[in-house]
Symmetry: D2
């Protein structure tokens, strides 16, 4: 996936992408991309098309290992520093169960210290799944802070499912950040944050967008409609069937129509700026109570794969 047009989504995005601050390399392996930014914190974004075959899985795993290692390094996390894994989300809701599943697949070592079975060289790793407030009645942030006080880890890694700001990213992106976590923020609640500032230790977040709002689907589709028409216009001498090939999406990313063409194609709606377009779509869907949060139907299978990938990577990096 190309990163070119992402900056415009920064208004309501959960995945912070700032292409201007691309200071590091951009390792393109097939459709696998690693993007790094460090504005008000560090961000590493790994995008991929598919992890359902073994070769792709191993490729993405390698990049994820490198990404987690790097974000630990820039946060000065030492080789023997103890780690608390926090698996956020709801185990009873498949698209929201990513964090819980990762926590259950990561190898735990802290109890070996209690029973005297741990060798000196094993990092102390513990894990915790706070659950969601509707199921516990207790704020996740408060639970994590209370647990952090008794476990006293040197750093914290939290895994969570996110809402996607873009239909191309769902289940195809892993983002690493050190800017803290805001459990439950996905549903519009303004809760406290867990961050290095608030708890005094590095807080690494690993997020995967697994759901998307209907309004985002509509907005993005109309955006791609404009790009599609622009591409056809630019390439009108080319046989119409020729665009039906792989990576057509990438070809669209630089396309645009003039304002007059936009008005011809999509009327008043086409002339609106991005914020107004989004607002109008949301107005229609919210008022009719049809602005669903949706997830692809393969989600059961993908959550299994993604949670194994992230847990494998954590096991590789934490115990190496």
């Amino acid at each position: 996936m190309s990163e070119i047009n992402l900056s415009k989504y920064n208004l309501h995005t959960d995945l912070i992408i700032d292409d201007n601050s691309l200071e590091h390399q951009d390792n393109l392996v097939d459709n696998l991309t690693v993007t790094k930014t460090n504005k008000s914190g560090h961000y590493i974004t790994i995008t991929f098309d598919d992890i359902t075959d073994k070769t792709n899985y191993q490729k993405v795993l390698k990049h994820l290992n490198a990404g987690i290692s790097e974000i630990l390094k820039v946060n000065k996390v030492k080789k023997n520093a103890s780690c608390l894994i926090v698996g956020l989300g709801n185990r009873f809701s498949t698209p929201d169960s990513l964090g819980v599943k990762v926590a259950s697949k990561v190898t735990i070592s802290a109890h070996l210290y209690e029973v005297g079975e741990a060798s000196q060289n094993i990092r102390k790793v513990s894990a915790f799944t706070p659950g969601v407030m509707a199921a516990t009645g207790i704020e996740s942030v408060k639970m994590i802070m209370a647990l952090t006080k008794i476990v006293k880890p040197d750093f914290l890694i939290a895994i969570d499912a996110l809402a996607s700001s873009n239909i191309t990213r769902i289940n195809k992106t892993i983002q690493l950040t050190d800017t803290g976590i805001h459990p439950g923020s996905g549903i519009g609640n303004n809760r406290k944050e867990i961050s290095q500032k608030s708890i005094g230790i590095p807080v690494i977040a690993i997020g995967v967008p697994t759901v998307v709002m209907s309004s985002t689907i509509v907005y993005d589709t109309l955006d791609y409609l404009i790009k599609h028409i622009a591409y056809l216009k630019t390439n009108e001498c080319i046989n119409k069937l020729s665009y039906k090939k792989t990576n057509y999406l990438n070809k669209l990313n630089n396309q645009n129509l003039s304002n007059i063409d936009k008005k011809n194609l999509l009327g008043l709606f086409g002339t609106l700026n991005e914020i107004d377009k989004q607002s109008l779509i949301e107005e229609v869907l919210n008022n009719t109570e049809l602005n669903m949060i949706v997830t692809p139907t393969e989600i059961d299978f993908l959550i299994e794969k993604l949670s194994s990938l992230i847990a494998d990577s954590l096991n590789n990096v934490l115990y190496n």
Copy 2:
């Protein structure tokens, strides 16, 4: 949900609705609607807003009981006729697991006959879940036909999750028909059908739309955008906030814009007929490989509720 504008969707709908043939009553209980048609077979459609609280659940159950009883009656199914329940779909994919879950919740009695424990008054009920072809390698239709030959039921009831033709219906509709089933047809495969014509016994299908195409979300949203603007135009003296109340969706169903207004609002796109609009949206999404099949994020919870509802109703009707 009102049924008024549904006829236009008949092109690619899985739920066959034909308002012109509404020959029976339309029992409106709150937002619960029962619609009956009998063009080329019988259809009973029960729509509802919510079955997550006990009162609504009981209301819908009552109507579902009546619906199943009626469709058995019109198919001349006798009180002691033996029944084979077929739970279609994939148990490992939550939105596709409805049929399998219902089959596991229906009370089975056929084995009691084998061991001599069944009283004369209990209907003989057996159940079968063929699984999906990717998991078995065997066509569901062939499996069902083979099983029907050994079980020799007097009639067959098949339960399946469907793709929705409309964003307002997802997880909010149960359709009963006696026109046969086409397992796997949801994914575009042209397989054989199981019907009274092909197997000689009544075949009742119980379907719930649990998934929807992204293209349908876009199409329907733009349709509601036109209706929304039309409503605002018609009611422009009314305070803008006044439309933010319950059942706004119902108010929109009669709204429409003139062709000129449609062109002003949505340009060339607004002037397309329904088929061309759908084709253009599908062209964009299919070429970019973004035409996902999606399901609301509450699907785990809703499948539990819906499968319990249908199984409760089958237990009520079959053993009454």
Copy 3:
């Protein structure tokens, strides 16, 4: 189930039964028994044969409601006192998942206070599942104490699966106590306890024996062998088939053989006292690594039923 011979098992029992202190009534409903003792704390034990049919389920539920109400009353828990439910055990091990399943089925209300939706009359209930140390690396007791400090409940209810001291009790007993809990004590670990003494609020434990040691199966069987032979001896004029009827177990409970008969029947082993018999059986099984902890094969089904029963009862009592 009769309680007559239970006192002898007090050596290594997890269910404390002391028949001498039976100060209250013993409500026998069919095979449902309620026993109360209050030596060094209060104990209410409800035993039953079967909760898989609806009538029995409702009977046991009624007694469980009364039992929970009473143990709250003797601990002076007020009608509006806030409650923290602690679901102990391992969600990934069926026989150990009782507490976790109950916690997921109890209605939670504490979050309604946070969002201002709770009426004054609803008791504040929250829930927490610490998990097991092998999966978290963190001691359950420490987690519970940390959570108690932030939730600040007026009392705590902990639910756990237990090891049974008797083969007749498995999945057929619910014990309520106010003497505190010792998470993980079942596997021989000497951990801290959670009790009114240690945390200053009433701590009610609800336990169901779901597993049993192989050594207990052997010991109990040989004990019933002696009783069985004694019964046959006493009733030798009676037709041998006559003992094959319901409640034969109850008939055995008063039976015993003379020491000479025990020696004739079971040799040196038969003359050993209870502790020595147990020790010898454990010696054989522990040295050969065959002293398994086992559970009946119906455990998946029974854990579902038992967790629903306890959750229904908690919902009845806590929100009444």
Copy 4:
């Protein structure tokens, strides 16, 4: 596990072991044993202590691959012969879910032939899980025969959980046979069999004992008690603690007491022959309704491991 004393259990065993007919090699790898017999059909039995660590898992997998390859070879199954996998048992009962879990983990290829995607070199593999009669009302044997007629496989592989005839074998044995399967026979039902004789194609059964009767636990423990006392008697000059080491079980297998010593130790019971001992134990437990079928508490974890092991082996052998 040594095979030495197993012949005596042949009366009520589900795993047919006949040491006298040991005609092939006995590959001892640590505690991994492969035993082959071919009396009235071929039997290959693989026993092991542990498959929870990766090294042991790979060792056992290697032997299982060899075993499955050999039993296919002696049944003259060709490299390109098509296979129907039948996963027997109840998916809702953990200890009985082995067959169903294996079927869901085996790679299926038959549907690729239908859609024209299969290369010539891939064996055609399909899978089917009939379920249990209490859940379907239909006899498994009838379902399998009906399916076999439509799938027309060249051979059939059925996987099932078994009742163990010995407490040392539970979850530690895989038996391969070509003598046919008798679904549901574990619960005393006399159903039809699926075998080469009845359906005309090779029928390979893969079984793992996952449950055991309480009466077997008692019988085996008393047997080991006699062996244990015999070992102590023979080695009485040896420090008592010295027997507490690994493989004590193996040391016991040759031990026995004289009849006088048996009578001294266990009275009349000790003098009974094996059949009478078993009958007496069963009489006590059956009359008191305490003869439970039990499974070790780690069963959830072990079924996952065992089903992965068998599926990995089938994938290795069938697609090689």
